[in-house]
């Protein structure tokens, strides 16, 4: 900490005559100075409203933000500084406290190392003295307000959310000592201070007694919330590098639409197809489409296999449209172009004029899409089916994926088999 210097500047208080905010400001500076903080040790975060006029009064670092958001801004400053020798003090009024109530709860939940001072004058001072979410029913009756909803108990809310220290102080003679205690508390502390609004509320401190909530002092013994720092490897280093191992018969490009239902392995079948294309020296793209409810509804994937680099990744006229479930077929049947080869599962339409196969029967619910893709690869001869086996070889689901690829053979007359390199016998 730096040598003791004044926390406040010599700027005149900007508040209305008799306003309680000046007492709150002086109490805050006294508390900081008594604890040995110098101006450069403190970051003051201010809100909007009468309490937002405090910046010029402080010789500390200051940041003046939006209405209600000062506690959220303070969270960022505190975590960003990550320095126990620096103190983040946030000041806001009762209006700001309800706009940004979520931020107070979040600071409490995470026990962020900072002190929030809520200066409660029971009303919105700058806009005409309207009632706030922290106005008491007694005060609202006094102001002839029809609103009879109980006020938020922001001190208790902070406590219930995990704040290390939350307190309401009504007696101005206790402001400084309570603020010292709050500032000295590791973690999140909230101090609600009662403040007189002479322009819209009351003229004397004594009048407040009938209108304010009783003092409250609540403690949680919890560790300070910090943001963990870590060192991580490049995202590029975990990308599987695929080198050409097989030959492809594709001269230009071909695009395939694969459709099924969520959880049916459509996206993984498409990715295996695209990766097998790369192993066969092709440029490939793969994109998925599904409703926002990821675990239900249709699942559609598009794969382009091309001899030349691919720019546009959409598919105007697919060479093949494959569907293994009815909801998948309903989603893609309008994609069928004149030149499209169509392959659908028998359960979708047994008597369709398209090519119907028992993908679900031989591949099962999870393997039907891969079974259909494998069937298409073998039928068209775009590249050896061994490329598909090669892709899945190192997968943790290798056995079931290999089985799905193999199952396509039951739909064909010619029998083939593939033995992974590491399983081949040597003579």
């Amino acid at each position: 900490m730096e040598a003791a210097k004044k926390i406040l500047t010599n700027v005149k208080m900007p508040f209305c005559p008799g306003c309680g905010h000046g007492i709150c400001v002086r109490s805050t500076s006294k508390a900081l100075e008594n604890l040995g903080y110098g101006p450069n040790d403190v970051v003051l975060v201010s809100d909007i409203g009468c309490s937002g006029l405090v910046d010029p009064l402080f010789a500390t670092h200051t940041i003046h933000g939006l209405h209600g958001r000062a506690p959220a801004l303070g969270i960022g400053v505190s975590l960003g500084l990550d320095n126990p020798n620096k103190k983040v003090v946030v000041i806001q009024g009762d209006g700001g406290a309800t706009i940004g109530l979520q931020h107070i709860l979040e600071a409490s939940r995470r026990n962020i190392d900072m002190t929030l001072i809520v200066i409660n004058n029971l009303l919105y001072g700058m806009t005409g003295g309207q009632m706030s979410g922290l106005s008491t029913n007694e005060f609202k009756a006094y102001k002839h307000s029809d609103d009879d909803a109980d006020p938020y108990d922001v001190v208790n809310l902070a406590h219930q959310s995990g704040a290390a220290f939350s307190v309401r102080v009504n007696d101005i003679s206790n402001f400084t000592d309570t603020l010292k205690e709050a500032i000295n508390t590791p973690g999140f502390s909230l101090v609600e201070l009662s403040s007189l609004c002479t322009s819209h509320g009351m003229k004397k401190v004594a009048d407040m007694k009938g209108f304010i909530v009783a003092e409250e002092r609540l403690v949680n013994n919890r560790p300070i919330g910090v943001s963990k720092k870590r060192t991580k490897n490049s995202l590029l280093s975990s990308v599987k590098v695929l080198e050409k191992q097989f030959e492809s018969t594709i001269e230009d490009s071909t695009g395939i639409v694969i459709a099924g239902s969520a959880g049916g392995g459509v996206q993984s079948a498409a990715k295996i197809l695209a990766q097998a294309g790369i192993l066969s020296g092709l440029y490939t793209t793969m994109k998925g489409e599904y409703p926002i409810t990821v675990g239900t509804g249709f699942s559609v994937a598009e794969v382009i296999l091309s001899k030349k680099p691919i720019h546009f990744t959409g598919l105007e006229k697919p060479s093949a449209v494959i569907a293994v479930t009815e909801e998948g077929w309903n989603k893609v049947k309008n994609r069928v172009a004149h030149e499209s080869k169509v392959l659908v599962d028998r359960k979708i339409c047994a008597d369709c004029s398209v090519d119907v196969k028992d993908f679900l029967k031989v591949g099962g619910k999870m393997g039907a899409a891969l079974s259909a893709v494998s069937y298409w690869v073998k039928e068209t001869g775009v590249f050896p089916v061994e490329a598909l086996f090669k892709v899945v070889e190192s997968s943790k689901y290798a056995v079931s994926l290999q089985k799905a690829i193999q199952s396509a053979e039951e739909l064909r007359e010619v029998v083939y088999s593939y033995i992974p390199e590491n399983k081949k016998r040597t003579n």
């Binding site: 958001r69 959220a72 400053v77 294309g277």
Partner: protein
Amino acid sequence: MIDASRIITEALVQSGADVFVGYPITPSNLFYTYSKERFPEFLAGPDEISVLQWMCGYSAAGKIPVTATAFPGLALMTETLNMAYMMELPMVLIITQRLGPSTGSATTGAQGDLKFLDGIISGGFPLPIFSPSNFNDAWTLSNEALKTAVKFRTPVIILTSKELVMTQKSFDMSSLEPLEKVDRTPKEFKFPFQPYKAGLDMVPTFYPLGNDEYQVRFNSSTHDNEGLIRKGTPESLANTWRLREKLEKRIDEYSFFELDAENGAEDLIVTWGVSADASRDSVNSIRGKGKKVSLLIVKTMLPISQKIYDIIDSYKTITFAEENMTGMFKEMIFGKRTTSKIKTATKFGTMLTPSEIEEKVN
């Protein structure tokens, strides 16, 4: 196979980004996932307003924060984005466009947020918007975006689209050159230090909150060089005016585009973002049929450089290729009025195809 979300995330970290603060939203989810794997710090905010406020706090404390969202999140962030702009806080926001209005179709791509971003800073102040057109752009433009954020002390946007950042492609990763980490050494300044006093480059020297050398004040309201609220003084108004000047007058330092000009061509296709690859194919097809055509891919969408206007003015007909209803970039150049000189190849709800662009050009 790789996607642009991975490339952009890696590029930002290599360029010096410190922390990702996010709330997941489709189709920006991959950024969230990858950032959790990669960033030196990762924070899950409870809502998008909190996310951007936390980022402002981090930025004011000297860190470079990044987030990724889509229109609904951006809408919630708008007031805080204005605050970050006014405070002159460097940060990067990735916006992945999806079909609107409102929640629209979260898993359908679009290019419908450009005009919203054009006016997003109250008063018509420019916000730098970078829009990568392919994977290589995703790499280099992310680096440029972050450098611009620091150099000009401003939030910047990387504007993407669902199909650009979620589609997986085969890709030669050796084409990605190592990226230069941004230098955050404070610039020299004329004593005494004032947090908003700028020199000839119109950008004030940045010192973080909490530093032991100089008192720093950040302010979201109209402020003087000290960072204190001043309503309508010449100094405070000049300070606000400077926010526009620093970005407009030095635009050529961060304006990026790709011009594939064909000698003798009278037709120009103007495009951006996810529609650029369809336009590249379209141009190849048109040229293959013996017709001359040029292609302009705009990568710094806002503010618009005079160079973009000059290129557009030098062609007889211009076709704007965009995945939105009316041609938003076209409207930013020419307004809503369409003449025989101006054509729009637009699409709503599905990707704009090369043949649809070609049809308009012809």
